[in-house]
Structures are given as C-alpha cells and as structure tokens.
C-alpha cells in the first residue's frame, strides 16, 4: 500500500515536470490567440529556444544567460510571425507552419556546424542547468505520512522554471481579466474595429501579444533543454507545442482550465513512462509504443468533439483591414 502511494505521488510529481512546457506554451497561445493571431509556431519557437539555451549553456556555462538568449530568440521569431501576419496580413497558419519547418531544419544545421555531434549539443553539467530547488525541511518532512510525502516529492525538488510556469498562469489570468491591457487584448481578438475606433492601435496590441507569446515560449524551450533535460536533441519538442495548443482550446482560451488540460496531458505522459515494462495480466509486458502514443491519440479524440463547443475569439485568424 505504501509502495503504491509512493508510486502515485511520484507520478504526480512527474506530471508537473512534463506539464511545465505545456503550461508555458498554452499561456503563450492564450495571449496570442486572444489577440486574434493563431500561433501554431509555438512548437517551432520552443524548439529554437531549446536549442539556443542548450548552446549558450554549453558554450558559456550560465543557465541564466542561456535562458535570456532563448527568450530573445523566441521573441525574434514572434516578431517575424507578427511581421508576416500583422503588418503584411499574411495567412497565420502558413506563417506558423513556415516557422516550424524553419526551426526543425535550422536547429540541426546550426547544431552540426557548431558542435559537430549530429545535431545534438554537448551534455550539460549540473552547474550549467537549472537544478532542483529542495525546499526547507523536505528531508525531515518525508517521514510524516501523506503530507510529508507530498511535500517532499511533489512540492519540493522542482527547478525554478517549474515555479515560473505555475506563476505564469496566475499572471496570465490577472493580466487578461483584471487590467486595462487585458481588456484591450481581449477586445482586439473579438472585434478589432471596435478597438481601432476607440483610438487604440490594433497593430500595436497584436504585436505586444505575440511578443508576450514569444517570451513564454522561450522559457518553455529553455526548460526542455537546460532544466528538464541536459542538452538539446533534434526534434526534442516532439509535438509539445501542438499539444499545448490543444490544451488551450480544450481550456476554452482561459488560463486555469488550460492549466488543468495541460496537467491532464502531462499526467498521461507520466503514466505512460511509469507503465513501461510493467507486466499486465494476460498481455505480458505493457507495449511501450502504445502507451507513448496515448496523449497524441487523446488530443485527436478530444479535439474531434468531446470538448463541447469551443468558441474561439471571434476575429481569430483574420488580418485586420479597414473597410475598402
């Protein structure tokens, strides 16, 4: 019984680790899409910033410098997305897709050019990464039943970026629903002409939104390569950007429901990892591939219609053009 409890607590702990990049990306998506800009380039921006973070950390050794560079690179690609979609009124899906393809090729090419390790970056030492923060009394508390285990395993022992991800949910909610900026941001995704006639620049609002999205994506990427992992591996985002997008839609473009959706996807992935090699009666060892595919299958099923009617911001995907 105690063993099972520990297994459960460890799974919850893993859930949080796996969900962190999803949460950051989902919040990024909320900012962008609430302003009316579809952002499927979450995936690409995360990959680019993961690569940037790992490279900078490997070359210069500072995780904070690496994080900063990752964020800047991600924001630069947000600007590119904005330039295509806002300034030039291009197709937002195509622009996002282009960034994803670019990211996938660019990371490997530059990676080989710099490190000559087949597109990977060197393995990072612990001082080059964000390491786990053990909260006070975690070791002493471990022996207290229930709460002690939860405190030691689930709450303590995470790196800084996990906490930032959770904080980002609170901040997103506050900014969107409690500030003037948030009111304008939501309005611009619903009815940009109302914002324009009220004397506010639609272009500026949307650029701000995609830049915030880039900022959050940058943190998510850095988390993958220099906090959760210890280096960059080609295609290491593995569709997480799309899953985050699914979680955002699942959460109806709202921060807290989107957080819960991210945690659910994270939980499935964590379970999949735990179930690997477990003997199932009659079936023998659990087929690993089947388990790993579960979150992706679930995404398809959920998006296909099990989530009720998800009403997106009214003007999403439409470039703003004054009449005539």
């Amino acid at each position: 019984m105690a063993e099972l409890w520990l297994q459960f607590v460890l799974t919850i702990d893993a859930t949080l680790r796996v969900a962190t990049p999803l949460i950051l990306c989902a919040m990024a998506g909320i900012f962008s899409e609430r302003s009316g800009i579809i952002d499927i380039s979450l995936e690409g921006k995360m990959l680019l910033s993961a690569f940037t973070a790992a490279s900078v950390a490997a070359l210069y050794g500072s995780p904070f410098l690496a994080l900063g560079c990752a964020v800047i690179v991600s924001m630069l690609f947000s600007l590119l997305h904005g330039f295509a979609c806002i300034t030039h009124r291009g197709n937002q899906v195509i622009s996002g897709l282009a960034i994803n393809i670019l990211a996938s090729g660019l990371t490997v090419t530059v990676g080989i050019a710099i490190f000559a390790q087949g597109g990977q970056t060197p393995f990072l030492m612990s001082e080059q990464r964000f390491s786990a923060i053990t909260l006070p009394f975690a070791e002493t508390a471990r022996h207290i039943p229930v709460f002690g285990t939860i405190y030691a395993e689930v709450i303590s022992g995470h790196n800084l970026l996990v906490w930032i991800a959770l904080l980002s949910v609170v901040i997103t909610g506050y900014v969107l629903f409690r500030t003037t900026f948030g009111l304008r941001l939501r309005a611009v995704g619903e009815k940009p002409e109302a914002v324009d006639t009220a004397g506010i620049s639609v272009t500026l609002m949307r650029y701000q939104a995609v830049l915030i999205a880039g900022f959050l994506c940058g943190i998510a990427g850095a988390y993958l390569s220099i906090a959760h992992g210890a280096g960059f591996v080609r295609e290491m985002t593995a569709g997480k950007g799309y899953i985050a997008l699914a979680a955002m839609i699942f959460g109806h473009w709202r921060p807290v429901p989107a957080l819960l959706a991210c945690l659910m996807f994270g939980f499935l992935e964590a379970i999949a990892a735990r179930l690997q090699g477990v003997e199932v009666p009659f079936l023998g060892p659990m087929p690993t591939d089947l388990i790993l595919v579960l979150p992706y299958v679930l995404t398809v099923i959920l998006l296909a219609g099990f989530i009720g009617r998800a009403v997106p911001p009214r003007s999403i995907g439409q470039p703003y053009i004054k009449e005539r």
């Binding site: 629903f177 409690r178 500030t179 003037t180 900026f181 948030g182 009111l183 304008r184 939501r186 309005a187 619903e190 009815k191 002409e193 109302a194 914002v195 324009d196 006639t197 009220a198 004397g199 506010i200 009214r314 004054k322 005539r324």
Partner: protein, 505 residues
C-alpha cells in the same frame, strides 16, 4: 459664432474612385445637421475622414474655429468628436460597461476604471434619459439598446460633436422617434449632431439643416424648413423621381404557397421561428416586415430549401415539404420557385465570376446551344447574359465583366434577371433594394409589380418599411420568430406596423 465643424476642399480617392471631390461642409454649433445622399455618394467617407478613420488626400478641417489636422480616431476623440457607426463598434461578449470604457479606461487596473466609470455613467444616463443595464452582455441586448450604448460611449468620452451614420436602419418607427428625442435632448445640452441617412423622411423630421451629396460631390446646403422631400430626392438623384406609391390593386388567384405551423429551434430553449402559418396567392405580394434579426431571414431560407424546418409543412402548388421530408434548393427551384437572397454577396452571386457566369448559376440547364448537360459553351453563356442585361437594363452591358466591378444596383438587377429568367410561379425575395441606388430601386419595384400582375406569387422580406408598404398587398409583421399580425394594404399604417414590429399586439 464659429462653426462647430468646418471642412473645406476635402478630397479622397480610393484607387480610381473619387469618393470625395472638393467637399465643403459647415455645421453650426448646437445644430442637428443632416447629410443625405444615395449609396456611394461619399457620405460615409466624409464622416470617416472627420472621425479620423481615413485621412483626406487634401483639404482642411476646423473644429470650433481651430484648424485641426488629425490622423487617428484617438485625436478626434480628444477633439470632442464621437461617432456612432452604422455597424456598431461593440464587442458582443463584453458587458456594456467594458465596452464603454474600452480605450478610455483611466487606470491600469480594471476594477478602478470600472468603479469610476459606473459613477460617471449613472449621472450621464440620468441627464439624457439613456437607461441601460451596465452589466448586461452587449450581444444579448436588442439593437436599439446597443445603439444607446454607442451613444453613451461617445458621451463618456465628452463628445461635443456626435456623428450618427445611418442610425435608423435597424430600428422600428417608434424606436426611431425615441432616438430623435434623445438627439433633441443632446442638442439642448449644446451637442452638435451630424446625422447621415438616405431616408428623406428622417431628414425632414429631425434636422435643422441638410446637405445633399451626389457622386462624391456636395450638391446643396439647405435649411430643412425651406425644402421638401421631392426637392431633396431630385437633388440626390440628379433628375426628377417619383416618390409616390407604385402599388395598385391586383387580381388575386388561387393559393399556391401554404405554410403551416413551421418551427425552427436552435436549442432546447431557443426558438428561432414558432407557429408560422400563412398562405400566398397567385398575383399577390406578401410583404414580411420586421426589424432585422426577428426570424425573417430564417423563414426565407426555409422557404428556399436552404435550411430544413424543425417542424411544420410547406406546400408549393401540390408538392408537400415537411420536416421529415425536407427539400434541397434545387428541388424547390424545379417546383417553379425562384429565390433572390438577402445578401447578394454571400449567396446571390460569386463576385470574382463574370456577369455571364453569374447569370447562369443554378440555371445551367437553361443555357441553350451548349454541348449537352455536362458542358457549357462560353458563347451561349454570353449570349444569354447579354439578352438578360438588355431586358433588365444592367449597366455596363458587358457579359465578360467581373461581377465585383458592377455597382450594387446592377449586381442586384443581374440576380433578379437570372431568377426571373425561368418565369417562376413563386418568387422569394429578400432585401431587394439593399445597397441599391434610387434609379435602380424604381426599376426593381416596377419589375416586382409587373411579375405580380402576370400571376406570380411574391414573398418579399425587407427591413425597409417604406418598401414593404409601397409594394405589398398584404403585410405580415414578425417579431422574435413569431407572426405578430397580418395587415391588408388598404388599412396599413406606419404606427400600427411599428408597434407590431416592436412586439406589441
């Protein structure tokens, strides 16, 4: 006293089109000043320049005597100009309060801005008699209240000059009168009002001065008291026009359209149409009146077979259609029913197609001289279109021209020509003269009367009450998806129909 607004030599071109050609406009402070003109006369462009939405190519503007070069709506708002747009600039899923403060919040923190606005708005709405629930979602409000929100929004920004662009298009006659009462109250407080409309009756009822525009030019400035609707109409069109009724009594034939207990539900709680029962006879025009969005569009789409009713029966001649056995538009067409849709750009024509292609859409089988049903010969498409264009006076009479290059009136005539080409026994027609110039309106109305006299049963949906009243033999009024009443032409009057439109029986 200086003019509240003084514009001189304003020019604005959009590509090859000159929307405003050296326009001069002077508006007295505290005046209700009307601007009339047909569609495309340049009224909206002119006020959009005044509001800073567009920038003029040349010309100067003075506000209260002060030269003013403004480029953005923000500058105009700061100069005391407020505008109520034809299509409301409101976010439907925001509350009234959120919509009013948007862009003019005051504080970074929303709750502080809201508290301050709530306080200010309560005194504003008392002062002008503009009552609205500040916490209601704008999308749930009827259009007349949404319009009040727009007016409040302008007043909250301290507007001293209020521009209203076609404000009465979505109002019942009673609501229109209420709006004019509000405008008079504003005038008393010293607000200058610029009223843009194409309805002469409203100019006569509400304004002190009126300016007439035609083809991008300013034609005349008049004192409203010194003019007549006939004179204004003549100035707008540039030639004498008949404004009187075209209707004359007709010979009713047998009932050929019968609709019984038709119902349309969107969800368990929401009925879009309920208990719709009526008949239409050969040689009769049934006009369906109502404020936009009260079920007329859905009814028209059901009759045309585009959407299936949830319950009820419809019969054309001896063909029965019901909820369990719905018909598609092609089937309906084969019963001799033609349909001129309400929104010609969405469902009447394909804008990038040539006139010849659009003239055949849905009637490809009637194009003679082809190579059988699967092939269409371009020559016969063009020949057919040229014939229709001549009969319906479509200008320019060029079958190869892209449909988007025709004016609204000529596009509409093309659709009408196509639908009438098969000599239907029933014609369903929605908003026949929306976005159509006066000359074409006359022509289209005459065509409808002629068709009726030849024995066609016509169901006419329009939000223009004048149009309904001047064409219909019987008038059916709808409100909230129900039939409020059926009025004979002989006894019809605006007041009663207006009450029915508002849902008062």
């Amino acid at each position: 006293m200086p003019f509240a607004v003084s514009m001189s030599g304003i020019c604005k071109r959009f590509g090859a089109v000159t929307a405003n050609d050296h326009i001069d406009l002077n508006v007295l402070s505290g005046d209700i000043h009307g601007i009339v003109g047909e569609n495309g006369a340049g009224k909206s462009t002119l006020v959009s320049i005044l509001y800073g939405f567009y920038t003029a190519d040349s010309g100067t503007t003075e506000i209260a005597g002060i030269p003013y070069t403004h480029n953005t709506p923000a500058d105009s708002i700061a100069a005391g100009i407020g505008m109520v747009h034809q299509h409301f600039m409101l976010v439907p899923n925001f509350t009234v309060l959120e919509n009013i403060i948007l862009g003019h919040e005051g504080y970074k923190q929303l709750s502080k801005s809201m508290d301050q606005a709530r306080h200010m708005l309560s005194s504003l709405s008392q002062q002008y008699g503009l009552d609205v629930d500040l916490d209601a979602q704008v999308g749930d409000l009827p259009v007349s209240l949404q319009q009040r929100v727009e007016i409040l929004k302008a007043l909250y920004r301290d507007a001293r000059i209020l521009i209203l662009d076609e404000p009465t298009g979505v109002l019942t006659p009673q609501e229109t009168n209420q709006l004019f009462d509000i405008l008079r109250a504003l005038k008393k407080q010293g607000v200058t009002i610029l009223l843009i409309t194409h309805k002469l009756r409203e100019i006569m009822a509400a304004t002190d001065h009126v300016s007439v525009m035609r083809g991008g030019r300013m034609i005349a400035h008049l004192q409203t008291a010194d003019t007549t609707p006939d004179q204004l109409a003549e100035l707008m069109v540039g030639r004498p026009v008949q404004v009187q009724k075209q209707w004359h009594k007709a010979n009713k034939g047998a009932a050929i359209v019968s609709v019984k207990d038709v119902q349309l539900t969107r969800s368990k709680t929401q009925n879009l149409l309920s208990d719709i029962t009526f008949t239409v006879h050969a040689g009769e025009i049934l006009g369906i009146a109502g404020v936009a969005g009260n079920g007329q569009s859905e009814l028209l789409n059901i009759l045309a077979g585009i959407i299936a009713p949830t319950a009820g029966h419809i019969s054309y001649h001896d063909h029965h259609i019901d909820a369990g056995n719905p018909a598609d538009p092609q089937k309906i067409k084969s019963l001799g029913v033609a349909h001129v849709p309400e929104d010609r750009h969405a469902s009447g024509i394909v804008l990038p197609f040539t006139a010849a292609e659009n003239a055949a859409l849905g009637y490809e089988k009637n194009v003679s001289g082809g190579y059988g049903h699967a092939f269409l010969s371009p020559q016969s498409l063009r020949a057919r279109c040229a014939k229709l264009m001549q009969r319906f006076d479509v200008r320019p009479a060029d079958p190869n021209l892209k449909s988007s290059l025709f004016s609204g009136g000529n596009q509409q005539k093309l659709v009408l020509a196509r639908e009438m080409s098969a000599t239907p026994s029933v014609l369903l027609i929605g908003q026949p003269t929306r976005g159509v110039d006066i000359g074409a309106i006359e022509f289209i109305h005459q065509q409808l009367i002629d068709m009726r006299d030849k024995g066609c049963a016509i169901i006419l949906v329009s939000v223009e009450l004048d149009e309904i009243m001047s064409l219909s033999d019987r008038i059916m009024v709808m409100n909230n998806g129900r039939i409020m009443g059926l009025v004979e032409q002989a006894t019809a009057n605006v007041k009663d129909i207006g009450l029915l439109m508002a849902g008062v029986q």
